[in-house]
Structures are given as structure tokens and as C-alpha cells.
């Protein structure tokens, strides 16, 4: 065991602990994904490799209407959520960055509140809101979108503000100095510089929306507003087949691809350090 104790070498104990942790966190995911390709109906006993739960004629992701519906609704919510929270979040970030007067500090803290509030509390609160205060909206897709935007917005604001802070005011000042009026300072300089952060923020909002369960579940109305995560939860205790693993795998792949793209885009434009900080946010 002398390689573990060499005081001049790298801290190998740390390497060992890290490796163990990575194995521990990845193994369940790998197992779940593996059983999506099981040839039999069991989610615990390996019976050979097959794509039947993805593309088979019955009970597969491609042909089961319930799974199809859930996947479509999940993606629909994610797309609307991104479309709403990105422009709104960017505007808020810009506004908050400029606003350095009284009250800006408390608004900053408020922006982080949705990120630290336990989701179940938020879910219950939003449920009551839509049932009692805004019964005309009621439960369903609209409520789900509003509920998800409530916290995906915070991600967008935090990411875009981070980039704004690191950009600093001087590019805008340079633009103004060269004769650009305020809207040109924004369009010709600030937005292009923010583009990587905006893309990354949109991708994270997308991923967070796909992964969300609690709020989406509380604000759903009927079967047509069921998402993948809700379906997984509901059928896990019923008659589960590897089709559930298959649809979870699809959701996982979409999330991973989106986040990887975001990471790559961001690193390409904003440099490694900030990208690493961003990666850390991808809870």
C-alpha cells in the first residue's frame, strides 16, 4: 500500500474516494438504462438484448399511446417553458444588473428563493394559487408552464447575471463612447456577448423542465397532462415493464445531450472556468 502513502505523490486517498463515489452514483443509472434493452418483461432479470421496449409493436415507447403522450407532453412543456423563461430571465438579469439603488439587494435574494424553496412547498402553494386565487386558469398545461417557469426563470437570471458581471460595464461604455445609443449598445454589443450564456441558460431551463416532477405533478389535471416523470412514478408500483426504463432512457438522453451542447457552446465562447461553474449548477 505504499503508493497510497507517498507524501510527495498525488493525494491518492482522494482519488480512491472520488472513484468510489463516481461508481456509486453511476451504477444505478447504468443498470436502469441497461434494463431498457432487456428482451424479457422483467426489470430485474437479464433475458437478452433487444430494442423491443423502444420500437416493438406493443407496449413500446414508440407504440404505447400513454408513453407517447407523456413524452410529447414533457417536450411540449419544456419548449414552452424555455420560450417563456429565457427572454423573461434575460430581461430581468439586465434590469437587475443596472438597478443598483434601494431594493436591488432584496430582489436579488428573492430571485434565488425559488431555487432554495423545497419543491413540495412550492407545489402545494402553486396548487392553492391556481385553485383558489386564479380558478379561471385552473390546473393543466397552462398552470404547469407557469409553475415550471417560476423556478426555471431563476436559473436563467442567475446564469445570465453571472456572465453580465464577468463581462463588466466597459463594453457597453465603449459602445456608447463610439456613438451607439442605448438600444444599439444592447443589440450590437451586449446580446452577442451574452449569447453563450443565454443558450446555456435555455438548455438548463429545458433540462430542469424535463426533470421536474413535484410541481408538474401538483399542477396536472388529467391523463393528457401527464409527463414522463409522473408516468414513471405512477406506474412504478403498478405493472412495470422495461418500457418504463426505455422512456426514462429517452428522457435521460435528451437531458444529457441538451446539457452537453450547452456546456460546449458556453465553453467555446466563455472559457473553461465559467463553464465549470455552470456544469456545477446542472444539479
Amino acid at each position: 500500500m505504499s503508493w497510497l502513502r507517498n507524501p510527495w505523490g498525488r493525494p491518492r486517498w482522494l482519488a480512491v474516494v472520488t472513484a468510489l463515489y463516481i461508481v456509486w452514483s453511476v451504477v444505478p443509472v447504468v443498470l436502469a438504462v441497461a434494463f431498457a434493452f432487456n428482451a424479457g418483461r422483467s426489470r430485474t432479470t437479464w433475458q437478452g438484448f433487444s430494442f423491443r421496449w423502444f420500437t416493438g409493436s406493443t407496449g413500446s415507447v414508440l407504440h404505447d399511446p400513454a408513453l407517447q403522450g407523456a413524452l410529447k407532453h414533457t417536450l411540449l412543456l419544456a419548449v414552452i417553458c424555455v420560450a417563456v423563461s429565457t427572454p423573461l430571465g434575460v430581461s430581468l438579469a439586465l434590469g437587475l444588473q443596472r438597478w443598483r439603488g434601494r431594493g436591488s439587494g432584496s430582489v436579488n435574494t428573492l430571485m434565488l428563493l425559488p431555487l432554495v424553496t423545497p419543491e413540495i412547498v412550492m407545489g402545494v402553494a402553486l396548487l392553492l394559487l391556481f385553485l383558489r386565487v386564479f380558478p379561471e386558469i385552473g390546473l393543466g398545461t397552462t398552470a404547469q408552464v407557469i409553475g415550471q417557469v417560476t423556478f426555471t426563470l431563476s436559473y436563467v437570471v442567475v446564469i445570465v447575471r453571472g456572465r453580465l458581471t464577468s463581462i463588466g460595464p466597459e463594453y457597453e461604455e465603449a459602445a456608447a463612447d463610439l456613438g451607439a445609443p442605448p438600444h444599439d449598445q444592447l443589440l450590437r454589443v451586449l446580446l452577442p456577448l451574452l449569447a453563450p450564456a443565454i443558450i446555456a441558460a435555455a438548455a438548463i431551463a429545458f433540462a430542469v423542465s424535463i426533470d421536474d416532477f413535484v410541481v408538474t405533478q401538483y399542477l396536472s389535471s388529467d391523463a393528457s397532462t401527464t409527463t414522463v416523470s409522473m408516468l414513471l412514478y405512477a406506474t412504478a408500483r403498478g405493472a412495470p415493464t422495461p418500457a418504463l426504463n426505455a422512456i426514462a432512457t429517452v428522457a435521460l438522453v435528451i437531458t444529457l445531450v441538451t446539457l452537453s451542447l450547452a456546456f460546449l457552446v458556453y465553453r467555446r465562447f466563455a472559457g473553461g472556468k465559467e463553464a465549470a461553474a455552470l456544469a456545477a449548477m446542472e444539479i
Binding site: E170, Y171, E173, A174, A175, A176, D177, L178, G179, A180, P181, P182, Q185, R188, V189, P192, L193
Partner: protein, 374 residues
Amino acid sequence: MEGEIRLEELTKAFDGVVAVDGIDLHMPPGEFFTMLGPSGCGKTTTLRMIAGFERPTSGRILLDGSDVARVPPHRRNVNTVFQSYALFPHLDVAGNVAFGLKYRKLTKEEQTRRVGEALELVNLAGFAGRKAAQLSGGQQQRVALARALVLRPRVLLLDEPLGALDARLRKNLQVELKALQNELGITFVFVTHDQEEALTMSDRIAVMNEGSVEQAGVPREVYEEPRTLFVADFLGVSNLLAAEAMGPDGDACSVRVGDRVFRAQQGATGARGDVKVMIRPERIAIEPHATGGDNRLPGMVERSVFLGGAHEVHVRVLGGELLKATVANDGKRLPFALEQGEAVTVHLPPDGLRVLTPGLPRAEAGEAAESGPA
């Protein structure tokens, strides 16, 4: 001639902290004007007010006679070269230089021509297609310069533009900047904390400290005739000795330093009481031990450094003060060794000794800034 700036009672306070304290300055058209001072003296804030990035708390900024203090930066006919250059990273060199031309009524051809001219002016003709990140510090600096000059501003503001460059490049750019300013005849307002830079490049220097102008004038005057202790200490190397002024003695002032009485012909020769006397290292003469005469002090060499063109000699004089002297290396053999422990006589000629009263009243400092030779 265009490009004249007058600052009148200009004040800027940030949350009650005064950064610029009612300064009056005149920057004549076509001159290389430098605001010199340590960090926090208000020089950059003053520059940013002229550019329009900071709104003055009070006072006026007259650009060719009209007050621009409330005009937003994009409508002021002044341009800035930023300390960090602030080149737009998403645009190439040509895109950066052309940025401001969009707001001038110019044809596409005219724009392209002006961009080409500007890049040629700063010797970057072949770099139009490069991104800012692909350029060296010195090249980025030139692009920043071209980007501002292409708009033909009446005044060019430069915020420590050489600060981020290495010493050698800095020297070259100093010369180039000065040549460029001569060629274009545009007023340059330059901010720096580097006194050497200020002395070599400027037509006129304003030395600032704690939000006020201590002294403004041509480099020689500010260096040779500092009016305040701060200016004497900040520009060049000064020997400052605590002394007691005993009143005028002919054209000079009698000052008592320790147990000796000297004649000092420069500065506040009418002063009485506690003062400082100042002398530049190059004005001190070192003579063999026990040389007789007025304005002389015995001392002992404490350290001597050969600098090539000169020796820098530190002499501990009677009374305990340490004086720095420069002895020019003129090829002659010195009649004494400049070695540690060597006893010498230090001669402080009356025309090199300047009497400085501690602190100049505010009003007087303002007047001094105003009444620099035209």
C-alpha cells in the same frame, strides 16, 4: 482650433465620498494634456466625466465653450481608449474599427476607406480580419486607438492605455503616441500614475491628489518648481529635509536644518516657521571631506550604486538624515572614493534648494492650476 476643454468647479461624489473635489482645469486645444497622480486621486473619475460615463455631482465641462456635463456619452464628440482596451471580442479588427462609423452619415465605400486609413495610421494594415483575442497586447492597444481615431474626435481620452504593457513596448508606444498626437493635432487627455511617462509625453501636466489639482503646468515647471510637498515628492526623486525658515536673506531664505543654516533661493523664500526644504539628487554635489564654504554638510557614504551613466550615492549627513545624490559619470576620476564609510562633504547649492510650506491652502492651489503659463 477645436478640442478645448475647460473644467469648472467639477465635483463628483460617490455615495457621499468625494472623488473629485471641485477642480478647475484648462486643457488647451491640440495639446497633450496629462492628469498624473496616485491611484484614487480622482484622475480616472475626471476622465470618465469628460467621456460622459459619470455624471458630475456639480460643476461644468466645457467642450469648445459648450457645457456637455449633461450630454450622454454617445452624443459627445470625444472618444476614449480604455485601460483594458474593451475591444469587442465578437467582432474582428475591421468590425471594431468600423463600429462607430455606423453613426456617421457615410457611404459603405467611405466607411471602408476610413477603416483602412485608420488601420494604416496605427501600422495594422494587414490585420483587418483578425479577432481581438488573436492580437498581442500592443496590437490590441493600436486597434483601440484606431477605433477611436477613425471617428476624428475633437478630444481623445486615454485611460492609462500603456498600463498593461511590458516596459519595452511601453517605451516604444510612448514615442508613437506622442508622434501621432503631433501629426493629428487632436487634443489628447492622458491619465497615468507613471511620472516618467507624464514627463516624456506631455505638453502640460496636472498633478492630482485626493480629488484636487495640486499643480498644473508644463513638465519642466512642474518638475523644477513644485509648489507643494506632494508634487515635489511625487515627481522624480526628492530629498526632503525638515527645516525652520528664519525669514528672507536677500534673494534667498535662511533655513535652519539641524544646527546649520542654509540659504535657499527657490520656492517660498518669504516663509517663516516649520517648512521642508527640497533638493533633487542631481543638484547635490559631493565634495572631498572637509571642503569649506556655505551650504555644506559633512556626511558619510552609506551606499553607492553604479548605474552606468551615473552613480547613485546615499549619504548620511550630520543630523542623521539620508540624502540621495546622483553623481554623473563624466569620465573624470573622482578625487575621492564613493565607497561605504567614506567621509565626504555634501554641497547643497542655494539655487537648488527649494522651500516648501506644508500644505497649500485650497484656493491658492486652484489659482496655481489656473495661472499656469499659457
